[in-house]
């Protein structure tokens, strides 16, 4: 039996605007026990009267050192009418505490000692735990070949756009491809469309290379992509999925 996961006090030290509806919160958690890319944390808010609300958020990056101790990053997508995400994005002041608990989840994780090729398929904010894997790969000096296929509504909705452009150029062995579902950038070849067989086939790995596949996004997206991968001949045990429900 492992020790209970306890609530820890975190403080907001930095906030980065990623898109008009998503921000990355950098939290300082001095006694953070460490985590693997793909894991998530629970964040708990408490109102003056003691009312509490908690939600899960994916960790977006490996743990970092700061002057006040360990730092973790969460990317929060605003859920319309949500209870927690609008607070974290619009109200939560820098320097103030919040409670976090984790890391949680031992299945949808990538371990830097893995050498198999990796296919990451993200839909919308489902890219967040996949970005944690991309970042951890580079941080660990891993040479596992990575392909990221990122489905997003419009160019303005791309999370980590500049960093992905830079990493696609500089991180040796990382390929990044996009599917735009509503509006494609200027000069894009092809029409906006939902992800399909041709996308997964051209930007994925052949099944005989036995890649590890990680699929994260809304339920319909994950169902579609996981079915395509199995249809293409990937072993179901090597297709790991994480579905985003409403987590307002």
């Amino acid at each position: 039996m492992t020790a209970p996961l306890r609530w820890r006090v975190a403080r907001l030290v930095q906030r980065r605007v990623e898109t008009p509806t998503a921000q990355t919160l950098v939290l300082e958690v001095p006694d953070w026990p460490g985590h693997l890319p793909g894991q998530h944390v629970d964040v708990r808010l408490t109102a003056e009267d003691g009312y509490q609300a908690a939600r899960s958020y994916s960790l977006a990056a490996p743990v970092a050192d700061g002057p006040g101790g360990a730092r973790i990053e969460l990317t929060v997508q605003r859920v319309p009418d949500g209870e927690v995400s609008p607070y974290l994005i619009d109200v939560y002041p820098e320097g103030e505490p919040v409670e976090v608990r984790g890391p949680v989840g031992g299945w949808f994780v990538w371990r830097p000692e893995e050498i198999a090729p990796v296919l990451l398929v993200g839909g919308g904010s489902g890219v967040v735990p996949l970005m944690a894997m991309v970042r951890a790969r580079r941080a660990a000096g891993s040479r596992a070949p990575f392909r990221l296929l990122y489905s997003v509504r419009t160019p303005a909705d791309v999370l980590y756009a500049d960093e992905l452009r830079r990493r696609a150029r500089d991180d040796f062995g990382l390929d990044v491809a996009y599917v735009y579902t509503r509006e494609a950038p200027e000069g894009w070849r092809g029409e906006p469309h939902r992800i399909g067989l041709a996308d997964v086939n051209s930007h994925g790995w052949p099944p005989d290379l036995e890649p590890l596949c990680y699929v994260c996004g809304p339920t319909g997206f994950v169902e579609t992509v996981a079915d395509l991968l199995v249809g293409l001949g990937h072993q179901t045990r090597r297709v790991k999925t994480e579905r985003f429900g409403p987590t307002g």
Binding site: T2, A3, P4, L45, G50, E96, W107, A226, G245, T247
Partner: protein, 199 residues
Amino acid sequence: MGIVSPGFQGRPRSAEPALPPGQYLTEDFPVLSAGPTPKVPLETWEFVISTETDAEFRWSWDELMALPQETPTMDIHCVTRWSKRDTDWQGVSLDVLLDGIDTAAHYAQAHSYGGYTTNLPLADLRGGRAWVAHTYDGGPLPAEHGGPARLLVPHLYFWKSAKWVRGIRLTTTDQPGFWETAGYHDYGDPWREQRYQGD
């Protein structure tokens, strides 16, 4: 009480019956699963209960449908914090399926098409609290929600309600399942907020 978050109000406090701690209501039916959705044809579907002495009891789809059916309406609680009220199901009570099976086992491990497993005390499958459910909201249970049939044990967190259930092994020792070996609680009582190991 936790640390107060400056300016956090939260949703209006509800006069509705309380949810388990840390849960919020949803009108949707979110999906939690770890891999691709298995597609199981009804012609070859079967449900098997095996005992600690390797005795096996099997039901085909038609045989399951011929058993007495119940229509529980239950609140369900997912460990990812959503709860859904008054979900309508149809299925066969585990009391019916376990009736007449001779066992000294104290534990059960449910196993699924696709390889998923989850464990629970055998006592939690008895007493009108657990079903093999094949119908949701008046229609066939959709595959992404566990169809053709899933275990339904709504008094525990919903990962215990194994989707695509194929059978139950009755064992004398507790055999942790898929999420239980990945850090989630062995029992998973939502009212005691047993989410993760050690809770």
